[in-house]
Subunit: 773 residues, 2 copies
C-alpha cells in the first residue's frame, strides 16, 4: 500500500529531524501503515516553464482547423520567436532546473513510486504539442532513471483519437529506459466521448486548473460531462479496457508495462464486465479518499462493488495507492483508518483466505499460480518416486476411487470369484484402495492384480506386497498393452487421466488393457470428457512466448490459473447457437464396443481414437483471446466422478488436488469485440507413433442490417449445451442443463455472421505424446 503525497515546492522546510520534506513524507507514511510513498516527480515551476515554451495561449481557439500543416505554421507565426528559440534550446538539450523536480537525492528516491507530470498531453490533438510532450516525458523518465526510481506512473490517456500516438510514445520510452517499469494510469472507465476532445490545458486557464492537477486523484479530466450517458456503464468499462489493450499491444506486451487502475469512478455491481481486469497486469490501484463512504460509525469504508473488486484483485497483490487520507474527509478513524480498512479487505479476500486454508487447491498450489508446466508423459517417461508421492497426497481422488470400486463390487452380479486388475499401479495407492473396498464389502475370493511398467516403481510395489499385501495381490511387470495376464478381470482400475482427460494417452493404454477385461467387465473410469473455454491472460501469453523453444506456443501447458479471465458467457450469442461458458469437446468410453481387433487383441490402427470438435462461444465483453483453458471430467463408476470443470468441480470432487487445468496457447492474440461469437476447432490427431492436438479459432460478429433476422428474446432462453448432461451432475441434484432447445436453436439460426478475424493454426506436433511401445 502506498500513500500518494503532494509536494509543491522543493525548498519547503521539513520538520526536525528530517533533512528534506520527501524524507519526512516517507517516514511519516510508514508509521501510518503504508509501505511507501507515491510522489509527483515535478513541481509547478516545471509546468510553468514547459507551458510557456510549448503551448500557446490560443492553441485551443480553433480546434476545427483541420489542416495539420497550417496549424503548425500558424503556431510558429503567432509565437514569439524568443520563446521559440528557448523551446528549441530545450528540445536540443532537455534539462531540469533544480526547483522543477520534487526529489534530488538517492535516499529520497529509494522507495518512491514517481508520478510523471499529470498535465503532459501525450495524446494532444496538435502534432507539435504531442511531440514536445514526448520530449518532456523522456526527460522526466531519464531523471527518474538517474535516481534509480523503479516505476513511473504516466498520465492517463485522454483523447481516443490519438491513443495510438500515446502508445507509440510509451513504447519509445520503454525502449529508451531499459530498466524502468512504466505504469499507465487508467480510470476504470472513461466517460469522455470521442467527439469531445479534451481542450489542451493552457497557462491562462486559471489557478483552479493548476490546483486540481496537483491533486491527481481528482478525476478532473476523466469524467467529463458526457453526452452519451445513456450507454451502459459496461460499454465504458469495455472502452477503458480497449484503451489499455491498444497501448499494451503497441508496446508488444512489454513486461515492464503495467496498469495503475484508477477506481475513482464508482464501480457497477456487475462483476462480469470487471472480470477482464483479472487477466491484466494491474500493478497499482488508485483509491482516493473521496471513493470512501462513511459507515454508520463515521469510519471510512468502500462501497460494496469496490470492496468486491479490491478483494478479487488480490490475485495480483496490487499496490493500493491511497490519496487524500490526511484531508479529513471522514469523521472517524483519522488518517490511519484508510490503510487499516484496506488491510482488512486484503485479509478477508477469498483469494487470500483460500491460500491460507489447508487442504484447498489454492493452498496446495502456492507458488504454482499461473506457472507454465509441461504436461507429464507417464507413458513415455518413467515417473520419479517424488512425483508419485505428490499425487498420492490427494485425499479426494483416492477416496472417490475407493468408493467407485466399492460400488462396482456391490453391484457386480457374478458372485463366485472376482478379479480386480489395477492397470498402472504406480507405487500402489489404487491397490491399497482396492483392498479396503474389498474389505468393506466383506467379499471373499477377490483376486487383485497390479500391473506396472515403471521398473523403479515396481520395486516399491514388491516391497509393499512383501510388507503389507502378501498374497492378496499379484504383481505383473510390463506394459498393459503387451503383457500376458493369467485370468481376465471383472473390474479394471486405472488412473491414466490428464488435465484434458485423454492427454496422457489413457485411451491408447486402455485399448491394450481391454485384452484382459471380461466382455461385460467394468472399467473404472468408465468414461471421460474434455472441456474447453476461451481464455485471456497477458501473463500466460507472455510466459509462453518467452520460452526459448520455437514450439513453445504450439504445445499445451498445465497451469493453475489465477490471473486469467474466461472470455465466454452463457448466452446464445449472435448466431443463437452458442453453448455454455465451458464446452465439452469429446468423450471416451471404456470398454469400447465394436472395435476391430488383430490377432493380438489390439486395434490395428489408432484411428478410432482421433477426435475433433467445433465449438461456438458467445463473447459478451470485449477481450483478447490468448489461449484455451482445458478441463476434464471423468465418470469413475455410476455417479462417482472426478472433475476439474470450473462450474462442477466443487460438486463432484471438491478440493481434489491432482490436476491443474491445461492451457492451449495461441501464437498471436486475437482481439474479440463485445457480443461476438468465437468458433473454436480442436482436433485430437494420431498416426502410428504419436498423438497430438491442433487448435484454431475464428471470430464473428452478427451481420449489420440487411439480410440478418435477429431472433428476439434469446437471452431468456436456456442456453443449449453440447452433448448430453453430465451423469455426475444429475446424481448430486443439480438442475441438469438439458438440451431441449437444441433443435430450436438450430432453427433460429437465421442471423448472418460477419467474420472478423482468426488466429493461425497451432499444433503440438513438435511435442506429441508418443504411443510407441
Amino acid at each position: 500500500m502506498l500513500a500518494l503525497k503532494q509536494l509543491k515546492q522543493i525548498d519547503a522546510t521539513p520538520s526536525e529531524p528530517y533533512e528534506t520534506v520527501p524524507l519526512e513524507l516517507i517516514s511519516e507514511a510508514q508509521t501510518k501503515g503504508y509501505d511507501s510513498v507515491c510522489l509527483p516527480l515535478t513541481t509547478e515551476a516545471w509546468r510553468k516553464r514547459w507551458t510557456e515554451m510549448c503551448l500557446m495561449p490560443s492553441d485551443s481557439v480553433h480546434p476545427e482547423n483541420r489542416s495539420r500543416e497550417s496549424r503548425r505554421e500558424s503556431r510558429l507565426l503567432r509565437r514569439d520567436s524568443a520563446v521559440e528559440k528557448k523551446a528549441e534550446a530545450w528540445r536540443e538539450n532537455p534539462c531540469f532546473e533544480w526547483d522543477e523536480v520534487t526529489i534530488t537525492r538517492l535516499d529520497e528516491a529509494a522507495s518512491i513510486t514517481a508520478i510523471v507530470s499529470e498535465w503532459l498531453e501525450l495524446d494532444a490533438e496538435d502534432d507539435g504539442i504531442r511531440y514536445d510532450a514526448e520530449i518532456a516525458l523522456q526527460q522526466e523518465l531519464a531523471y527518474a532513471s538517474y535516481l534509480t526510481i523503479h516505476t513511473a506512473i504516466l498520465p492517463a490517456p485522454r483523447n481516443r483519437n490519438h491513443i495510438a500516438s500515446y502508445a507509440r510514445t510509451v513504447r519509445a520510452c520503454l525502449q529508451k529506459a531499459p530498466f524502468m517499469s512504466i505504469a499507465i494510469r487508467l480510470p476504470v472507465y472513461d466517460t469522455t466521448s470521442v467527439t469531445e476532445p479534451i481542450v489542451p490545458v493552457s497557462p491562462s486557464s486559471s489557478s483552479s486548473s493548476l490546483q486540481s492537477s496537483s491533486t491527481p486523484s481528482t478525476p478532473r479530466l476523466f469524467v467529463s460531462n458526457s453526452t452519451d450517458s445513456l450507454a451502459p456503464l459496461e460499454a465504458h468499462i469495455d472502452a477503458a479496457w480497449e484503451t489499455w489493450d491498444l497501448i499494451r499491444s503497441i508496446c508488444d506486451y512489454n513486461i515492464r508495462l503495467t496498469l495503475a487502475l484508477d477506481l475513482t469512478p464508482p464501480l457497477p455491481n456487475s462483476p462480469g464486465v470487471l472480470s477482464k481486469w483479472a487477466a491484466e497486469a494491474v500493478r497499482y490501484i488508485f483509491l482516493p479518499s473521496t471513493t470512501f463512504i462513511a459507515n454508520a460509525k463515521g469510519y471510512p469504508v468502500l462501497p460494496k462493488p469496490t470492496q468486491n473488486f479490491i478483494r478479487d484483485s488480490m490475485t495480483h497483490r496490487p499496490n493500493i495507492i491511497i490519496s487524500g487520507a490526511s484531508s479529513g474527509l471522514h469523521m472517524r478513524g483519522g488518517e490511519d483508518a484508510y490503510s487499516q480498512y484496506v488491510r482488512h479487505l486484503e485479509r478477508t479476500s477469498s483469494v487470500v483466505q483460500a491460500a491460507e486454508t489447508a487442504g484447498t487447491v489454492e493452498n496446495f498450489a502456492q507458488g504454482y499460480q499461473d506457472y507454465l508446466q509441461a504436461p507429464l508423459q507417464p507413458l513415455m517417461d518413467n515417473l520419479q518416486s517424488i512425483t508419485y508421492q505428490t499425487f498420492e497426497q490427494d485425499p479426494v481422488k483416492y477416496r472417490s476411487y475407493e468408493e467407485a470400486i466399492y460400488k462396482a463390487l456391490q453391484e457386480w452380479p457374478y458372485q463366485d470369484k472376482i478379479v480386480i486388475c489395477v492397470a498402472g499401479a504406480g507405487r500402489g495407492p489404487l491397490v491399497a484402495r482396492s483392498l479396503s473396498a474389498v474389505d468393506r464389502t466383506k467379499r471373499r475370493n477377490v483376486h487383485i492384480y497390479a500391473i506396472e511398467k515403471n521398473p523403479n516403481a515396481f520395486v516399491t510395489l514388491q516391497n509393499r506386497q512383501r510388507m503389507e499385501w502378501k498374497d492378496r495381490v499379484r504383481l505383473i511387470f510390463g506394459d498393459m498393452r503387451s503383457i500376458v495376464v493369467a485370468e481376465k478381470a471383472d473390474i479394471l482400475v486405472s488412473e491414466l487421466l490428464g488435465s484434458f482427460g485423454d492427454n496422457e494417452l489413457s485411451p491408447e493404454c486402455l485399448d491394450g488393457a481391454m485384452r484382459f477385461l471380461k466382455p461385460q467387465g467394468i472399467s473404472i473410469p468408465s468414461s471421460y470428457t474434455a472441456h474447453l473455454a476461451p481464455l485471456s491472460s497477458s501473463k500466460l501469453y507472455n510466459d509462453a512466448r518467452a520460452i526459448t523453444d520455437e514450439k513453445s506456443l504450439e504445445t499445451p501447458y498445465v497451469v493453475m490459473f489465477q490471473a486469467v479471465n474466461l472470455l465466454s458467457g452463457e448466452g446464445p450469442g449472435p448466431s443463437g447457437l452458442c453453448g455454455p461458458q465451458v464446452q465439452e469437446c469429446w468423450e471416451f468410453e471404456h470398454p469400447r464396443k465394436n472395435l476391430v481387433l488383430n490377432d493380438q487383441g489390439l486395434p490395428p490402427t489408432n484411428s478410432h481414437n482421433a477426435r475433433s470438435a467445433k465449438l461456438r462461444f458467445h463473447i459478451p465483453h470485449a477481450g483478447v483471446l490468448h489461449g484455451l483453458a482445458g478441463y476434464f471430467e471423468a465418470v469413475l463408476y455410476g455417479n462417482i466422478g472426478l472433475s476439474i470443470h470450473p462450474h462442477r468441480k466443487d460438486q463432484i470432487s471438491k478440493n481434489m488436488l491432482s490436476w491443474f487445468p491445461l492451457f492451449f496457447p495461441f501464437k498471436e492474440p486475437l482481439y474479440l469485440p463485445s457480443n461476438c461469437e468465437l468458433q473454436v476447432s480442436i482436433w485430437r490427431l494420431t498416426n502410428e507413433r504419436q498423438v497430438w492436438y491442433e487448435w484454431h479459432a475464428e471470430s464473428f460478429l452478427g451481420s449489420i442490417g440487411g439480410t440478418s433476422t435477429t431472433s428476439g428474446g434469446g437471452q431468456s432462453l436456456v442456453s443449449p449445451t453440447v452433448g448430453v448432461p453430465s451423469p455426475l451432475i444429475d446424481a448430486i441434484d443439480l438442475v441438469p442443463r438439458s438440451s431441449p432447445l437444441l433443435r430450436d436453436g438450430l432453427e433460429r439460426s437465421t442471423a448472418t455472421l460477419v467474420k472478423i478475424g482468426h488466429t493461425s493454426l497451432h499444433n503440438a506436433g513438435g511435442r506429441s505424446n508418443y504411443i510407441g511401445l
Copy 2:
C-alpha cells in the same frame, strides 16, 4: 495452358505408336497448342474400393443426429465387421492396386498436373469420413510424389462448417510432402449455403453421379440450388475468397500452396470485387468449354467479364486449364479454337502489352515486379555511377525539371543577375537541364553552382565541367548542410526525393541548403506530399518475412507493385468520415518559414520535420491487410510536378521511371471484413541522429443495432478528401476533389464504430535513415 483429360481405365489400349494412353494424351495435347495435360490421378476402381471401405450406404440418412460419438458408434455397429477389418488393414497400410491409378510411369508423369480424387470429402460432416479421406489424400499425394509429380490439385472445399478441418488436412499434407505444390480448386464464387451441407456421395447414388465426378469441370457440387439467391454476387465472391483465406492462413502462407480458380460460375461485371484475386497466388485457372459462348461465326469465345478477368490475371501468368475441348460443344474451330482464343487473350492483355512497349514503366521494370528492394540512402551511402546512370535514363523527370526551371526563370522578377544552385548534382543531369533552360530563356548573367558531396561523382562533374560546361558552372564539393557558398541563390534545384517524398531525407538536406537561398528565393521542388493506401499481397508478405533479418518486417521497401490489391474504396465508410482510396499523410514545403535558426543558420533540432497522420479508409470488400502502399507527389514549380500517385501519375508525369512505390509491411496480416473502416496511424520520427517511420492500423465495423444512428444516403455524397486539392491536378483540368462536404461529413459522424482488430506497431528504428553529418 493445360488440357484437362479423362482416363477411366488404366488398361485402355493406346493408338500406335504410343505405349500407353497417358503418353498418347500428352502428345496429342501438345500438338493442339497446349503446354501440358492435367489428369485425374485415380480411377473408378479406387473410388469403388474406398467407398465400400469407408462410407456406409446409410451414412447420410440421419444428418440431424448431432452426437458425434453416437454416430461414430452407430457407424461401426451397422457396418459389416469384415468391411471394417478391410478398412483397418487399409488405414494401417494405405496402398493402391495397379488399376486404381491412371499413371504408373515416370515418363507419363513428367509433364502432368495431377488431380486428386474429386470425391474425397475432406470436409465431411462426419469425423470418421473426414479422417479416412485424409488418409486417402495422403496416400494419393505420396503416390504422386513417388512419380515426381510437382503439383496436385485438391478437390474444392464444399462444407463451410468444416473448412478449418479441410485446411488442417492441407497443412498436414504440405508438411508430409516437402517438395510438392498443392493447388486448391476453388470456384470463383460459391453459392452453396451453410445451412445445406452437401450430402456425402454414397456408392448407391447411381452411376450418373459417378459419371459426373469423372468430368470434374462440371460444377456438380459447387453451384447448388442455393436458397439465398437474393444476396448479391459480390457477397458470394467474398465468401469464396474467405474460404481461401482461411485455408492459406491455417497453412501459414506456405509458398507451395496455390490456388486453382474455377471460372465455371459466370462472372459479374463489377471488377472491384474481383480485384482481390490479384493479390493471391492464382497459379491455375479452370475454364471448361461450357464457359465459352459462340460468337457470330460460331467460334468459341468468352463472355466479356471473363475475358477481362483473364486478361487482368496475366500479372500472375497463370496456367489456364481447358476441359471438354474435344466435346464438340461449339460449331466452329474444333478443338484448337479454345487454346487459340486463350492465347489471343494473353497477347491482348494490357499487362502483357505494357510490358512489351518501350518507354513504359512496365517495360522498364521487367523482372522487378513485386520484388522487394531496400530504399536508397543517398545521404548515408555514396551512390555508384551505374545507379546514377539508371535514374538519368528517365526522360520524363528531367524534362519536367527543365520546364520548372524555365518557368521559374521566366517569372523571376529580379533581372540583373540570377544565381541557380543545384544542390546534390550527382553526375550533372540537373546542371545540364539548368543550362538548357537558361539557354531557352536567352537570359544572360546567370551563375550556376553545382554542389555534390559524393567524391566519386564529383570527379564526373569535374570532367563534364572541363569538357562541356566550362566556366558557365562552378562546382562546390561538400555536404549542402555545411559548405560555404559564395553568393546566395535565387533558385535552388534539388532531386532528393524518395518514393514517399521525404524518405531520402530531402527535408533535412534542404534545411541546410536554405542557408544559401535568398529570402524570397525559389526551391525546385517547392513542396511534396506523402500518400498511403492499404494493400493486400500474399507474395509481398511472404517475401518480406522470408528475409532473414529480424527487422525485415519493420522497414519499408521499394516495390514495383503488380500482384497486389488496394483494399480501400472511395466511400465514406461506416463512420461517414473515410477519405479516398489513396490518402495524403503530410506535406513539406521549401523554403520553410519562421524557422528558428542557430548561428550556423541551421535549425537547432530536427523536431520541425517530425510528422504524423491518422487516416480513415473504407474497405468495401473483405480482404487481408499485409501492408501499406506509399506514394509521393511533388510540385516542382507552379503547375509542373512529379507524381507516382496511382490515380494521378498519368496526368502529372506519365511514363516517369525513377520511382517505384514504397511498401510498409505489417508483421501480422490483419483480416478485414467487408464494409469495415481501417484507421491507419503513421509517424515520421526523428532524434538527433536518425529519421524513421512507424505505422499501425486498427479496424472497425459499424455498430450493430442499439446506439448507432446510421446516416442515410452516404454513398451518393462526394467523398471528402484529406488536405487541399492538388495544384498539379487543377492545372491539367481534372475535376478537383474539393472538400466542401468535410464539415458536413464530420457532423454526420453519429454512427458508433465497433473495434474488431489491430496490428501491432511497426517501426524502422533498426533501419533508420541517418542524418549524421
